[in-house]
Symmetry: none
Subunit: 444 residues, 2 copies
């Protein structure tokens, strides 16, 4: 920690020149500015903005805009000025390094119409950082001890670049270094200063499977009115539609009430709160003390990969068979050669035989089998590209098999296959028997 | 394709009202606007902006700003107006769905001071899309046939949301749906309209495996000068580092020359031009008339999924075993119980036994086996999280086994495992014996 003008979790160190945000009822508005040529050029994926947005949202702050600009002093200062004029919090990441293209401190100083001064404690900390590593501080790093006279420095325990905290009118501007492992702890440290009396935005996500986004929106009707609080929105991603609830300054009971309304309308297509399909299936299998195996052809391992995405899988998922060739469908899963001769590999009989063979040979409660034509080649008139058979065999229930016709390219057909296989298992684990499900895949 | 106001690769369909950008010498400036509450709230990571930025950069366009705003009509229109005033190209993604929070077409209409009209061909395409799936078009989807009167619609072959193309002064504004698999082909289709000189830009990508991005940059040295033509750049993604070559107005021979220089410096870490590791491995196996099987534990099917991502895989990949539990390592791959008792599942002996057992039982030329601790639990002092053993057994070569220690979270360890397994196979298939490879993983 810096001994003097340093930041701490308490607000007591804030000098008089730094004004605190007003304690009004409306949620604080925030913006995030990411700086770097590697970002505008598309060389690097910016994960900082998303991380900061999620943190701010969970703290009851309304994030109104993310912006990314290049390492360009004029671009940076005009963005800082514009965003500070419309928010109470502006978080800037990047551009605090020691090289010629690190310009954030200069751009901030321009907007403040301030002058840069050398912060003696910061310089001492920098020199100590290098001394501790047995070498002198390179001269270019000295710039990292400069700050606008009206700003204060933020300690960086994991690197050489200190952060900066300044006020532009009613907006607090915090500048943090770009590397996530340096930025994240510094952000956590400055939060109590940025958000003294956070109002609450509470969010909740309900996951659904079985209906498209537009059909869901139709069913939800007025609940999706944009002026409603809690606000209800939908997002289609990875083959599933999520219902997002966001309440501003509300009690948990108000969110409970809206959640109940959504669940009443959508019924069994809602399968979980804040969980993916794979997480939900794993949880249900754990609760039921049951196990799962997979037998995959066109998905080539994607169903197993989805199930094992979460660490808890090892208690319910024993493994599986990748029977990509017909020879292995026979040798590993015990499909009768006659089935392949008569009906082909993409057929109800083959999917059922794969599921039954897999479940028996791997000795599990359930087995999911997937066989289909992912394309782009291999389609026929009676079995076009996108035709996929999925079968579910369970120890105490009749084998279920369904034929699908998925849209899109190879990746899309494989993705839909994974989601639909897990969806079929989920319906069985949740004892849902609604025929309306699977009427249409979720539109993305 | 829409019969009338639709987009095609030719510019001939552009109506008179749509002005073309000037063909001046200075690079075109572009901005990218991403729309969605899920983005501003930090629920979803925006990968579109990065993808579009990289495409535009490779086409010689200067991307000056990325902006993300919520599903809010006023926010969207003020961002569109501001960005259109400072660029010649504005790419907007998201907000074209059928629900009440999809507001891009309205925001664009506001900025254009235009009115919305229903596009008859687009409506017909929508109705046909649903008819082809045997159900009526839900009423909310009708909004997707609306466009500002002065705009034209862009065909979406992979979903229900058509795109929009309009002109705001000298800026061409293109609005595309958010899902990447819909957005990317639509972007490619509209490029010749956005960037008249696109055809004079030639790009090439060399894929490497085995060294980190910073080491590669160090080795390439002056070749990476930003004023060079062809320009040479590096990108780390998915565990691999790609070397991008971009020539403006050059002959293929000029690119050949630069490619030869890069290959001379980097040697055998360059494995292919314009191919992924899985594609390269598949091609080499096909050329050698050889086959592959996989035996996976911690990756749960991801190696098989990677190999089968491309359609050609069925001629070389027969299938595999997902031996997630120790019981299946014994039952399916024939690992001796003593090996598991003595060395554990994450050990050289177990990986070797998995590879040998898999290759023999599945009767292939090669088998790759992966066993490791993906985390977050299960680490020990001598086998911390990230420890992964990968073995490669081949019919005519000694079994190769390597121990890795991968950084990052569960997803990261699994990704590195897949890439490293394919990388080990690639080295054998290409007869590369360079010990420097694997010295460090590619930095992400």
């Amino acid at each position: 920690m810096f001994p003097s003008k340093s930041m701490s979790a308490s607000n007591s160190l804030i000098p008089a020149g730094i004004t605190m945000p007003n304690d009004h009822d409306a949620p604080l508005a925030a913006a995030i500015l990411s700086v770097g040529d590697e970002l505008t050029l598309g060389q690097t994926l910016d994960t900082n903005a998303r991380w900061i947005a999620r943190e701010l949202t969970s703290l009851g702050v309304r994030v109104v805009e993310h912006v990314t600009v290049a390492d360009d002093r004029a671009e940076q200062s005009s963005s800082i000025a514009r965003l500070a004029a419309r928010t109470q919090i502006l978080v800037v990441t990047g551009g605090l390094g020691p090289t010629a293209d690190d310009l954030t401190r200069f751009a901030l100083t321009d907007v403040l119409r301030d002058r840069l001064i050398e912060d003696a404690p910061a310089l001492a900390t920098l020199e100590a950082w290098y001394a501790g590593r047995g070498r002198p501080m390179p001269e270019p790093n000295r710039v990292q001890a400069l700050r606008p006279a009206s700003a204060i420095m933020l300690d960086n325990p994991h690197g050489t670049a200190p952060g900066l905290l300044a006020s532009i009118g009613p907006c607090r501007v915090v500048c943090l270094p770009g590397p996530p492992r340096e930025m994240q702890p510094m952000f956590a440290q400055v939060v109590p200063t940025l958000i003294p009396h956070a109002s609450t935005i509470a969010t909740r996500v309900l996951s659904t499977f079985g209906l498209g986004e537009s059909r869901i929106a139709e069913l939800l009707g007025d609940l999706m009115d944009r002026s409603r609080n809690p606000l209800v929105g939908t997002t289609a991603s990875g083959g599933l539609v999520s219902i997002r609830l966001r309440g501003m300054g509300l009690s948990p009971a108000a969110l409970d009430h809206t959640e109940a309304l959504v669940r009443e309308i959508l019924g069994p297509i809602v399968f979980a709160r804040d969980a993916t399909l794979a997480q939900h299936v794993t949880t249900r299998l754990l609760e039921r003390n049951e196990t799962l195996a997979t037998v995959e052809s066109c998905t080539g391992g994607l169903v197993g990969a989805a199930i094992t995405e979460n660490a808890g899988a090892s208690q319910v998922f024993v493994g599986g068979l990748l029977t990509y060739s017909n020879a292995l469908k026979i040798a590993l899963a015990g499909v009768e050669p006659e089935v392949l001769d008569r009906d082909g590999a993409v057929s109800e009989a083959c999917a059922v035989a794969m599921a039954r063979g897999g479940r028996q040979r791997l000795a599990t409660t359930h087995a999911l089998a997937v066989t289909g034509i992912a394309g782009p080649d291999g389609g026929r008139d009676d079995k076009p590209v996108g035709t996929v058979w999925i079968a579910l065999d369970s120890v105490d229930a009749p084998t279920l098999a369904r034929r699908f016709r998925f849209p899109g390219d190879r990746a899309s057909v494989r993705l839909w296959s994974v989601v639909s296989a897990l969806g079929m298992l989920r319906l069985r684990l949740d004892n849902v028997q609604t025929p309306m499900l699977f009427e249409q895949p979720a539109a993305t």
